[in-house]
């Protein structure tokens, strides 16, 4: 779990970093919608949320000192850091030792809680007759098919996947999807033969939510590239996140940009829109469940029938890993098998179960693709069977350690570009150069007996300088001799 949380943190910070990078006036506009405020709020750390909530209904600012006083002494540093982060996100303003919420943010977040603010910030439901065919379960299936089609497209192009998983449905992917895949360096190569990159493999091992975030971030970059209005995109994104699963929403009020975006997100299965009536669209759980913790509690959910279907097949824990590196995976999805195949040797396959083994060779294979040991471990951890989830640590330590060892044994050499000096004319010359190199700290290795010296590249440049003007000196000196 800890590892998984790590990954969660990571992707959250990425989106956070993006927000931090936004200039102030952009932020103001982003905060102008309750939906956006709520979504952003949900991305914060627990402490951050608490801080904001305690200040939400205070019109006056709090003295930073007092805020810190609220926390236990050993935790105050951490709280301070959180406040700083909030400030970077421009959620709080801090002046004269007082912290207070960004007024716009405060107002809109209040609106989000009380239900005020601008009209239809949480989407405008479609008034017309509802489509019987579209149920949450149906949406879930649709979304899963779309999403896994993409992952499949990636794996299918990989050396392993296609071979073992013959029945990979070669779904034709739309242009925009390919563009994003290529832009995000998940895949490379021309239209004809796109091949998955190492980062692509790493992408495969992430949990669904992180994957979606990665895509959305890429989409933002793409939008920038096509100089669309980023804030508009962001707001729409956050609005989608706040929509209700299984309800039809009207596209009437949407701007052209947003419609375009909608059609593109549709290709990812983040929303569903029937080609025949463009007036309504349905968000799928891929996007509505974004701001919930990535702890995908497929099993933990209240067991309401629809719930189990709402989670991606990859979201439900299905892997059992034994201390002897045996793996039992309760899955029949070719995609899952293909992904597992990245780092384990398949032994046998049954209707709903495959067994295999994590071996040195299989892990080597993964490592050669640039997949790190930690990624493998995280993946196993995330998808561990509910019965394994309850144990601490989730995975048997023997296996995780072994995987790390296998990774370590591959980098036996630590190479650094350098220059090597030898055959010094006289010792003092070596001494001088040695001392100088020591001062500027560029020595990689030195042998004072054999008068040999290895310095880094940048060190070399400096030393050349030294030698040059020293020689010049000596030259002038010799001239004067004459």
């Amino acid at each position: 779990m800890a590892v998984q949380m790590g990954s969660e943190e990571e992707f959250k910070t990425t989106i956070a970093e993006y927000l931090e990078s936004l200039p102030t006036q952009f932020c103001r506009r982003v905060f102008s919608s309750p939906a956006a405020c709520l979504a952003i709020f949900r991305l914060l750390s627990t402490v951050g949320k608490q801080l904001i909530m305690s200040m939400l209904y205070l019109d006056a600012g709090l003295r930073t000192q007092d805020v810190l006083q609220c926390a236990k002494t050993e935790q105050q540093r951490m709280v301070k850091a959180k406040i700083a982060q909030l400030r970077r996100l421009q959620l709080v303003v801090e002046e004269r030792g007082c912290v207070s919420l960004n007024p716009i943010f405060r107002e809109q977040l209040r609106n989000a809680l009380t239900g005020g603010g601008d009209f239809g910030s949480f989407g405008i439901p479609y008034a017309g007759p509802r489509d019987k065919r579209v149920t949450t379960a149906w949406l879930a299936r649709h979304a899963r098919e779309r999403w896994e089609a993409i992952l499949h497209f990636m794996v299918g192009r990989s050396a392993t996947g296609a071979a073992t998983v013959g029945e990979a449905p070669a779904a034709p992917l739309s242009r925009s999807v390919r563009d994003i895949l290529r832009m995000s360096r998940l895949m490379e190569g021309g239209e004809g033969g796109m091949t998955i990159t190492n980062s692509g493999f790493q992408f495969l091992l992430q949990d669904a939510a992180s994957q979606v975030w990665t895509v959305l971030l890429q989409y933002l970059r793409l939008a920038e590239a096509q100089d669309m209005d980023v804030v508009e995109v962001l707001n729409f994104m956050f609005q989608l996140v706040g929509l209700k699963l299984g309800r039809a929403y009207s596209t009437e009020a949407l701007t052209p940009h947003q419609r375009k975006m909608l059609s593109e997100l549709r290709d990812f299965g983040l929303v569903y829109q029937d080609e025949h009536d463009p007036h309504r669209f349905y968000p799928t759980h891929l996007i509505t469940s974004l701001t919930s913790g990535t702890r995908s509690s497929g099993a933990a959910r209240d067991g309401a029938p629809a719930q189990s279907e709402l989670t991606l097949s990859s979201d439900r824990g299905y892997i059992i890993l034994e201390t002897n590196c045996r793996v039992y995976a309760y899955t029949d999805s070719p995609l899952q098998i293909a992904i597992l195949n990245l780092f384990m040797d398949m032994a046998s396959r049954f209707a709903n179960l495959i067994t295999g083994m994590i071996t040195r060779t299989s892990v080597r294979r993964a490592l050669l693709r640039g997949i790190t040991a930690d990624q493998i471990i995280t993946f196993l951890c995330t998808n561990a069977h509910p019965q394994m989830q309850v144990r601490v640590p989730v995975l048997p330590v023997t296996v995780t350690d072994q995987i790390r060892l296998w990774e370590r044994e591959r980098d036996r050499l630590r190479p650094t570009n350098a220059h090597f000096y030898k055959d010094f004319a006289q010792p003092q010359e070596f001494e001088r150069m040695f001392r100088y190199a020591q001062e500027i700290g560029v020595i990689l290795w030195a042998n004072t007996e054999k008068h040999q010296l290895v310095v880094t590249r940048q060190g070399h440049a400096k030393i050349v300088e030294l030698v040059k003007n020293h020689r010049a000196l000596r030259l002038r000196f010799s001239c004067r001799q004459r």
Binding site: D302, G303, A304, P305
Partner: protein
């Protein structure tokens, strides 16, 4: 099957068909468990039509739960105020490793848990610990109401060095002597944890037994090896019970079974009014003041209403004037033993109009009914309903068990 009263508490996880209680050496048909032919727990699991065993497993667990829920609830006078001497065998026989890591180790660990639980459920009772080795017996802790003393004594490394043979007689005599100064209204008990099959006594243990009976001390034993006649006799004649646990869990269950206050025998002696102090929690003072119990400087504490001494924790006896100090909640904690909840009666699902369990407010198991709300969790386990005879409200099995084992009051009647 063992009588329901003595069911082990913590066997939720595994399906255990031949479930032996603390003194559950007696098997289903009265014979000893090792005389019965071996029962394999998986024999009783049948696949259903779809070839899944889930339904059958669920059935078994529910039936086990149901077995548990029948309790004796007739209102009896219980000895709320108990004076218990725990006798720990520290003879070499305790070094045997049939309990991991060793008998003595397991025993001490479980005893520690016991002490905690004991004072949790009998807040105004007192405890003392006696150890016996080399044919001698020594008092580790005097009778006192402060759990910390006893836990400290149990954790003492010295307990781990074992020597010679135990002397049951000496231990009992010593324990009895300790119990002499215990007031007559209290219940007098001795609980022995013994690993040795022998005892080396200076005199006739029969006389000790007579003395015990005369002093109305009830002796219970947990024997880690086997049942020994003299031990069994002492227990049965003093109205205690002898348990021979099969494993560590058994040991725990055996000890835990002695935690709830036992029912009083009608022939018991007088009951008294006990003078007790209800100290006030002293406000965190500006300067720390020494506490009477550990002589350490502390800010907060409870002030004895009679002698104004400050003690750290309740319940305990005031170290200065010896007044038993309790807080009202501590007394309240014991009320549940006095007024046990009545058993609920099982009624057919058709017999009630209620759509949901009154306790947890969740719908009954009813596949065709859609879930009311996204966050209304699974329907109640099983189709069975249980009705409180007093308030006529209907509950699901889980709530029934929770109410009777943890909550101790019926939501409907509260």
């Amino acid at each position: 099957m063992a009588p329901p009263g003595n069911e082990p508490g913590n066997d939720e996880d595994y399906i255990d068909i031949d479930d032996t209680g603390p003194d559950g050496l007696k098997g289903a048909d009265g014979g000893y468990t090792w005389e019965e032919e071996y029962k394999r727990s998986w024999d009783v699991i049948q696949e259903d039509a779809s070839g899944s065993i889930q339904s059958s497993v669920a059935g078994i667990s529910e039936q086990r739960k149901r077995k548990r829920r029948v309790r004796d609830t007739e209102v009896v006078q219980r000895g709320i105020i108990r004076h218990v001497v725990v006798v720990v065998d520290q003879s070499e026989s305790m070094a045997v490793r049939d309990l991991a890591p060793s008998r003595i180790h397991a025993a001490l660990v479980e005893l520690e848990a016991f002490v905690g639980e004991f004072f949790d459920q009998n807040p105004i009772s007192q405890l003392s610990i006696v150890a016996t080795k080399d044919g001698l017996a020594e008092v580790l802790t005097e009778l006192s109401g402060n759990p910390m003393d006893h836990v400290g004594a149990l954790r003492d490394k010295a307990n781990k060095d074992l020597a010679g043979e135990p002397s049951l007689q000496n231990a009992l005599e010593l324990a009895m002597h300790g119990l002499r100064r215990a007031p007559s209204h209290g219940l007098r008990e001795i609980i022995c944890v013994v690993g040795s099959l022998t005892t080396c006594d200076p005199g006739d243990i029969g006389q000790t037994l007579q003395a015990l009976r005369h002093a109305e001390v009830r002796v219970s034993m947990v024997h880690l090896a086997a049942e020994v006649h003299v031990f069994r006799q002492i227990c049965s004649e003093t109205g205690g019970q002898l348990a021979v646990p099969l494993d560590a869990d058994g040991l725990r269950d055996a000890l835990m079974a002695m935690v709830p206050p036992p029912a009083l025998s009608a022939s018991r002696g007088t009951s008294d009014m006990v003078l007790m102090g209800f100290p006030v929690k002293s406000v965190a003072a500006a300067v720390p003041t020494p506490c009477a119990c550990h002589h350490e400087l502390t800010f907060a504490g409870h002030v004895c209403p009679r002698c104004r001494a400050k003690v750290c924790s309740l319940p305990t006896d005031c170290d200065v004037c010896g007044l038993p100090l309790v807080s009202a909640p501590h007394l309240a904690r014991s009320y549940r033993h006095l007024f046990p909840e009545e058993n609920f009666v099982e009624i057919p699902p058709a017999a009630t109009a209620a759509r949901a369990c009154y306790g947890c407010g969740m719908d009954w198991a009813d596949p065709q009914k859609p879930q009311p709300a996204r966050d209304a969790p699974k329907p109640a386990a099983g189709g069975s309903r249980y009705q409180c005879p007093a308030c006529r409200h209907v509950f699901c099995l889980d709530c029934d068990i929770f109410i009777h084992e943890t909550l101790h009051n019926c939501p409907g009647c509260a």
